[in-house]
Point group: C2
Chain length 671, copies 2
């Protein structure tokens, strides 16, 4: 396959004649070590850098196949610019596809091009026509009988031309060109020396809208909430436009070292404990906290949610309370201290006495890995296909790579979301080794510069090929300062940024819609956090932003441009408190421009510059900018257009751009 290294060649007699070079094929992640990611139905646009020595014409094509197939499909590449070629293929099935590219010298095309130049320069072409005839006869020798006959006829015309003009018309004509392309000689084709992979997930891996909810807080009358109570809330969750309902761990909660309110080390008898302190005498990762309901109740919730188009996602937190059955059954999976106690989780000086980490350096790592895999398969067996993985960066990368590969082999529809709020390279590695979605730093990116830099990093670098961002304005662990200080407009701004910048986003509710902004003094943690106590929220509390949530999620569903993040383009706007960006579908039938004021306090305005040529909009004609939140309509024209946003009214415009408005009757649309 590789012409670059003599030792990799087939018969020695051929390799020295391999003049084409395929220097690069992309997209590729980490030199091809890891696959790129796509969703079923998406397109992979392959780029190759290919050329030959001299001025010879070459051709190039991509080869692609599902990994388990043995035959390559082939797609001719188009020359773009600067020795770069491109071609696309659609990925339709879940699983893994491979792709690469090859190139070869096209002597006939080279000959045609030279002939054309010589004709233009008025040079004698008699001998050239003879040479062309030789090429045609060589092709005829490999052609099907009918084609061979035609080719030989054309060769004769070139060999003994009635007129040079007619002969050169034939030589350069489309029919002969097509036929010669068909029988092009690929025997000296050079194939790129790597086969690259693309993992194809279901579309929800790209476009999803998450709602995090503590089921125990869904009860009424002060009672511990149940799966049954969650069912009651499903219509509202669906109405707000969420399609993933993510539940914190639903397993029995440990008693030993249980945390009380506000993470106190002293729990009161009725404190429910943190759901992440998994395991008690009632069971561990394969059990359900009976206060929430039975397995039957859980599966009914999954079913009901499905009826509303909502999928239930589970938390995968591979850690144990001191009461977890593993501690007795598998003491070898834990780290024991010289005083005979099990090592609890620490990030000194912070202590998590209610949680024991698993010791992945145990000699018994193989049984540990198998057990953890069995946990995933257990819940897959109950109907779960989405897992939000808690702190994956505190378990070995090599473990995740193995686990995700193992699970995906049989269940390519499973989605794993990486909750790794940690250093950039660690987050990126987790995404590369197989997580389908990733929490991001969006939670702390507030200023225009920060947001623009971060969006560019996520979408315009190699990262965009493998890390699918999930934007979370809040989580039970994080109430960012921006939300603490900005009031209701801040909650609207961060929601709309998340929902329009990223294709996947989520909120921890109802704390979010209710604009809960009380933190522990000087911290980014909720005061009276739901992690340590049961809440009963008043979903209809004054000032809630449910209507905005419902509206933006509807806009996301109705506008395919918003269902991707990689299509985002930042547009200049002359105000440091404002951000503007656009997303378009590939066919440009759906164009959404979002303008956001990131100032929750003051009215802001600015002039945005739109790339009308990319939108295929005539700068000399007016066009319609339809504001989708308020249903306002603006007539805009040219690149520069004015936007004014008042946080007390609505700090965001989501504008659908209509290209039309050419004929007078179009004006009826909005008058």
């Amino acid at each position: 396959m590789n012409a670059e290294h003599p030792e990799n060649q087939g018969p020695a007699v051929a390799y020295g004649k391999n003049r084409a070079v395929v220097d690069y094929v992309g997209p590729q992640v980490d030199c091809g070590r890891f696959p790129i990611k796509r969703a079923a139905g998406e397109t992979v646009t392959v780029v190759a850098h290919a050329f030959s020595d001299g001025h010879d014409h070459i051709r190039a094509e991509i080869l692609y196949r599902k990994r388990q197939q043995s035959e390559w499909a082939v797609q001719e590449m188009t020359y773009e610019v600067d020795d770069e070629w491109s071609a696309s293929f659609k990925v339709l099935e879940l699983g893994e596809y491979l792709y690469t590219a090859r190139a070869w010298v096209d002597h006939f095309a080279t000959w045609q091009s030279d002939l054309r130049k010589k004709l233009e320069a008025g040079q004698n072409i008699t001998v050239e026509l003879q040479m062309g005839a030789e090429l045609i006869l060589a092709a005829a020798a490999t052609a099907e009988p009918d084609d061979a006959r035609k080719l030989r006829e054309w060769a004769r015309t070139l060999q003994s031309p009635d007129s040079l003009a007619r002969a050169s018309d034939v030589a350069l004509g489309e029919t002969l060109t097509q036929m010669m392309r068909k029988y092009t000689d690929k025997s000296l084709a050079v194939t790129y020396d790597k086969e690259l992979a693309v993992v194809v997930d279901r579309p929800k891996a790209v476009f999803s809208t998450w709602y995090e909810l503590f089921p125990r807080s869904c009860g009424q009358g002060g009672k511990h909430g149940t799966f049954h109570d969650c069912e009651r809330l499903l219509p509202e969750i669906a109405r707000m436009g969420f399609d993933v309902l993510y539940l914190p761990p639903i397993h029995p909660i440990g008693q030993t070292n249980r945390k009380g309110k506000n993470n106190s080390t002293l729990a009161m008898p009725d404190d429910p404990g943190s759901p992440w302190a998994i395991g008690s005498s009632l069971g561990g990762h394969k059990a359900i906290n009976p206060e929430l309901g039975s397995f039957e109740d859980f599966q009914r919730l999954i079913g009901k949610a499905g009826e509303y188009g909502v999928e239930v996602a589970m938390d995968l937190a591979f850690q144990c309370s001191p009461d977890h059955p593993y501690v007795k059954e598998h003491p070898e999976w834990f780290r024991w201290r010289p005083d005979g106690t099990v090592q609890f989780a620490e990030n000194p000086p912070k202590k998590y006495e209610d949680i024991l980490p698993l010791n992945f350096e145990t000699d018994q790592w193989q049984s540990l890995w198998e057990e953890l895999k069995s946990v995933v398969l257990f819940w897959i067996g109950k109907g779960i296909r989405i897992f939000r993985v808690d702190n994956p960066h505190t378990k070995p990368f090599i473990f995740w790579q193995w686990l995700l590969d193992e699970v995906r082999r049989d269940y390519p529809d499973v989605i794993f979301l990486s909750e790794a709020f940690t250093r950039p390279k660690v987050m990126q590695r987790l995404a590369r080794i197989g997580f389908n979605q990733s929490y991001t730093y969006f939670t702390w990116r507030n200023t225009k510069w920060e947001l623009e830099q971060y969006i560019a990093e996520l979408t315009k670098t190699e990262i965009g090929e493998y890390l699918r961002p999930s934007f979370w304005p809040n989580t039970p662990d994080i109430l960012p300062q921006y939300l603490q200080y900005g009031g209701r407009p801040a909650f609207i701004i961060r929601l709309l940024l998340a929902a329009t910048l990223s294709a996947s986003y989520g909120i921890y509710g109802p704390a979010y819609e209710l604009c809960v902004d009380q933190a522990i003094e000087g911290r980014e943690e909720y005061l009276n956090s739901e992690k340590y106590e049961i809440k009963q929220w008043d979903w209809d509390a004054r000032g809630n932003i449910r209507a905005v949530v419902e509206r933006v999620n509807r806009i996301r569903r109705q506008n395919p441009a918003l269902q991707s993040i990689r299509n985002i383009e930042l547009y200049p706007i002359d105000n440091e408190a404002m951000l503007c960006y656009g997303k378009m579908t590939e066919d440009k039938s759906n164009i959404i421009v979002t303008a956001v004021s990131i100032d929750p306090h003051h009215k802001q305005s600015g002039w945005v510059r739109l790339p009308l040529h990319k939108m295929e909009i005539d700068p000399r004609r007016p066009f319609l900018a339809h504001e989708l939140i308020t249903d306002d309509k603006y007539i805009w024209q040219g690149e520069a257009n004015y936007v004014e946003l008042d946080p007390r009214i609505m700090p965001v415009h989501i504008l659908r751009i209509h290209k039309g408005l050419r004929r007078e009757s179009d004006f009826d649309y909005f008058m």
Copy 2:
């Protein structure tokens, strides 16, 4: 070596415990497919991205060796930022070195760091000290007897501390730390899965100053010049500061289709023909045109040049005149046309009737390759170690890769300069597969934007690791428009740009020093080009710039900062007609700032901003900027300093920055 792929592991019992990750090691070229380049004595600074899960401390080290050695040398890496580590090693011998990196979790360092935090938080550390003792005892078990005894003693101190304070002093003390570093457990170290290569050339591959001279034009009294005549010019060439004397082909020149003056297809009987039309009845690539002299004369020239510190470089033009012996002896190496003639070189509609290309697609490519290799070895046998390769991009890449590898195996001191004025990816590929130096687009980069972009591309991207630019303001083929229109100042500007931007540069002389600017109308070719006729130059002609050439080359020799290109930094200057850039040695003992006006017509001035912090200069103190061409001295202070350049005087400042000037006595230096 590789922890990432289970199948590459050693015993299955270990791989699951390999928690460290080495994500990337660099520099690397094309994913490690090709080596980076260095000169003997230079440093390779290796960067690794390495981390582990959790908050564990890791350590990392580079492994490096000469390819033929079996043992790795080891060098501990330093943590820089963002999970990036670095370490350096020097390459002293010619040939190839390999390097990679590995990382492992350092449990003792993690333990120390946690202990420190717990102490600061006032937590009880009794059990922690026990755990530390366990780690120390484990190290003792692997230590040399003396060290083991010390380690066990420390362990005892931690196990039964007289006082916690003293025990923690021991635990965190430098002595124990160093000892534990020495016996760190690398059994779970993870090594990056690629071994990267660096090719080490002799220093001239990096820093060289070329003078291209047609020996046949060195005669006197109208006679055909000889090697003997060249000898006469050596003192002046050396005085001007050149260390490579590059001769166009010295072989017999064909008679058939010989070109006349100005590339005319009609040669007069006394026209000498193009030296690139190689081969006649007198011989081919292994023969010398007897009009130039004998082999003895040639080797005497090589010897004499050596005495002046000048090395003779030969042209390697793998093509033939129709009279070349190969045509009869090896007709299979040429392309034959249906009319029985050999195909001559073409780039339609241009024809090179005096030159036949070799047909690398011949079935006899193996004998052709061997013959061409024997040509190189033949001249190596005559004492040649530098080849300027003519149009390498018109021969297969795979051939060059083989040839250069073959030659370099036995002669690692040979330097090949690629004369490929062609598309970017082709030029880059040639550099990657082994050419030591490369002609560049500098010849046509005239404006500030062009030059700054190009310098950044050449030095701040992966290209800088493998492509060593050679800057040529002119060649016998190219008289750029800038030189045609700018007069003598243009010649000075382009010379000084080449000499100060790049570590290697060359001129085609004496046409350059004499400011010959007459081109064929509307072309970039010399009128009455020396390629087709014998010249006898008046080296002392009025207006020549030999004094400037001599001065700039002396400055290059005396200032090591100018002997590299990768150390260049562009500095802002607020004038679009001016360029400013600096180069420093690693130890900052030599700092050169160059300011150039690229306007050959008008006086220009501007304020340059110097990065004083990088120069380690105190912005509150004056410093000395010593102009090395004119010997003028300026007292500068702060970042912003004024530069004024008049093309009628000298359009360039080459300033050596002296950091001193702190005490009054320093002022004596320039007063």
